[in-house]
Symmetry: C2
Subunit: 185 residues, 2 copies
DNA sequence: GTCTATACTGAGATAGAC
DNA sequence: GTCTATCTCAGTATAGAC
């Protein structure tokens, strides 16, 4: 068994996803995950601060992608257009690995503890978006407001897309940002 | 010892708040709360599904207030004006018991597990807001979008107010909904 | 890596309220 | 008697301390 650390982490990740799929999140123990990965239970908690974190392993990457998209968006765009730009890019990446994400989304939706963690990650991403908008020169207040409402709009689009995937997520995102204007009238 | 149930619950609530204030959330055990309330530890979990729930006991009431405000708002208002109406009313109630809420807010902000639960409650409230908007005849899609972005706007206002309470929460709410228009330009 | 505190669960017994 | 709240007891699993 290799002791490289990164390999153990990879095995833990795969073992966890397999077991969650087989028996559900609550019926899977950390010990079982560790056993299938061939490491000690304690090793699991060294790689993932708690059992839920396994399912949110890609969050940091998404965050960096979002920040880059926002910072590098053409100058002169209105805040919502910057976010539309960034979320459309994120949507493309999400759509590309659609098959993988479906089971994960179901698991999260059906497990309260995972929904809580999911919301926490969304809050972190929202903060990152606000920070990126500030880097573009937006005021603290408007950056916070744009990040929160923009993220809410993106989540609405994802939800709409889940209900009817035919138009594609990108189209749903555009539609959502378009619909925003109807709410003041 | 009375067996009324409601009394035990009341004592548990007070004991929990006292102990959380004295030692913090993580340093307080369920057994200690139960002991101070004069009941068995198991009884604590029958009244509160987990230790965190004690701090969110008033959520159902707030939800009903919000729904009522939205459903009873003057007809003919634009969705965001309905929400402004409802959140301004909620803000008034929140401001009235400001001193009580300060310590609770700090506890939540400084305890990750409580922040997660807080976000979950926000999601529930958002869903309730969407449902109330649907009752006003708004389409499913616009109701969801308005609820999410409106709630985000409200949270932005609360945050702004926390940073500078002088103008009052209601003013911050109005300002926030006003600022929304700047984000498309 | 080992040990331990504690959050939480389940089942069955008991005791007031009505 | 019935119903429901509480208690007792026995456990499991997570996560933190060492």
């Amino acid at each position: 068994m290799p002791r490289s650390g990164a390999e153990a982490r990879g095995r833990l990740l795969q073992a966890a996803l397999e077991l969650f799929a087989e028996r559900g999140f609550d019926r899977t123990t950390a010990a079982e995950i560790a056993a299938r990965a061939g490491v000690n239970e304690r090793t699991f908690f060294r790689h993932f601060s708690d059992k839920r974190e396994v399912l949110f392993d890609g969050e940091a990457e998404l965050r960096l992608d979002l920040i880059r998209s926002i910072v590098e968006a053409p100058s002169g765009l209105a805040p919502y257009d910057v976010l539309l730009h960034a979320f459309a890019a994120a949507a493309e990446a999400l759509e590309a690995r659609r098959p993988t994400t479906g089971a994960r989304a179901e698991l999260i939706a059906s497990t309260p503890a995972l929904r809580e963690r999911d919301l926490t990650k969304h809050a972190l991403l929202t903060d990152a978006v606000a920070e990126a908008l500030r880097q573009r020169g937006l005021s603290d207040r408007l950056a916070d407001l744009a990040a929160r409402t923009g993220w809410a709009t993106y989540q609405h689009a994802v939800r709409t897309w889940d209900g009817n995937p035919d138009p594609g997520l990108q189209a749903c995102v555009r539609q959502a940002f378009d619909d925003l204007r109807k709410l003041s009238r």
